[in-house]
Symmetry: C2
Subunit: 241 residues, 2 copies
């Protein structure tokens, strides 16, 4: 797959369109793909800072990120907030809402986004006809569970620098999976947002970045990151506490 730095517009024709690649099963016939795509609901164009949905909103659809970058966060009663994840092209948002028919988190655009709505009832109905769509939906939810549990491990048993290294490597992998450079990208979130996701204060995040920089592991200037030593970053996740 062709590689390019994250933000300049990618060159290949539908490479920004990760929906087919990430949100649909790969073993559907042309006509089946058409049936699934037929139920795609309206597109939402979000500006930076817009909410896709808020905690408590009635659940009606899942959302597939077409372009852009978002965060999902949950709020504690006393006002503390925790960012449960960052979503990019090809990611599905809203699966936490199926349980209670009410969204359990806020989803907020970190940059201008183009979001595709997937009406849930229709998705359920169609997935009774198309086993591979059914299987795909289950996999997506299961993958979310696995991801969340990996974050639990990160939060529960890693020190600050390990968490940040893990975070950078995760971003790197996800960019790579979408055809972007695995080693150079723009952070779309502030230090505070990174901290909120990793259970750290923004100053700790900043210090950890500086420390990686000193160690020659990364080259970071504000939000432009260049991962210089992927192995080194990986290793620093394994210094036991």
């Amino acid at each position: 797959m062709q590689q390019y730095v994250a933000h300049p517009q990618p060159k290949s024709p539908c490479s920004t369109c990760h929906l087919r690649e990430f949100c649909l099963p790969q073993d559907l016939s042309e006509s089946e793909v058409a049936r699934v795509e037929a139920l795609f609901g309206p597109r939402h164009a979000l500006k930076r800072g817009d909410f896709l949905f808020r905690s408590g909103d009635r659940f009606a659809a899942l959302y597939a990120v077409h372009t852009g970058f978002l965060k999902t966060q949950i709020l504690h009663e006393d006002g503390r907030e925790h960012i449960t994840g960052f979503q990019m092209a090809g990611d599905i948002i809203g699966m936490d809402a199926i349980n209670s028919a009410t969204h359990a988190c806020d989803a907020i655009a970190l940059e201008d986004c183009d979001i595709c709505e997937l009406p849930y009832e229709q998705l359920e109905t169609l997935s009774r006809e198309l086993p591979s769509l059914q299987r795909h939906l289950h996999r997506l939810m299961s993958r979310e569970i696995v991801r969340d549990q990996q974050v639990m491990m990160l939060l529960g048993s890693m020190r600050a620098e390990e968490r940040l290294a893990s975070f950078l490597l995760d971003l790197s992998e996800r960019f790579a999976a979408r055809g972007y450079s695995a080693s150079q990208f723009q952070l779309r979130m502030s230090r505070e947002e990174i901290g909120s996701h990793l259970g750290l204060k923004l100053e700790t995040v900043s210090r950890a970045f500086s420390h990686f920089q000193e160690g020659g592991l990364i080259d970071i200037h504000v939000r432009s990151v260049h991962l210089l030593d992927l192995n080194g970053l990986h290793d620093c996740m394994h210094r036991p506490r």
Copy 2:
């Protein structure tokens, strides 16, 4: 619902059988319930310490806890382990494995358990016929996602005593939902296991218990807990950091 202290055998006839109540949709007809139950696979009798499955095992079935208490844990490459959750009667285990067809965690009995196997392929097939079963499966996965994200918030933004209070209140609710006492129960796990789940060291867990005891919030003797002041425990989750 009748209440009784957790461990003496419950009295009502099928109150140990939380499978129908927790693992099946509530809006099925008798004959549909029969169809679902027909595909229940073999029962597994586990002794304390037995593995229900191990990380890496091929995925073939979900498991419904009939009786007993288990933990699920993931291992980091360097040997650190993190307990992702504790499961009791009526809980479903193994949904993390759907994604990769391989179990992503270990499931280990904390006491003698009786586990019901739910062959996944057959569950998928039947859920294409029974929309309410389909919906129920989705809800179960979604609930798992919500639970995991709540644990993420706990790990990411609560201090030690808040985490422990949250943990006790969660156990309390789950026992209550099964007809047991919300205020008196036995812990089935060691201090170290509680710590592993909450991202704390066993000494910290022990000290927090002692502190709750001094404050009159709980009465704890080794693994017998009596929650004396549920509101007080709830409040101590809201002292900002």
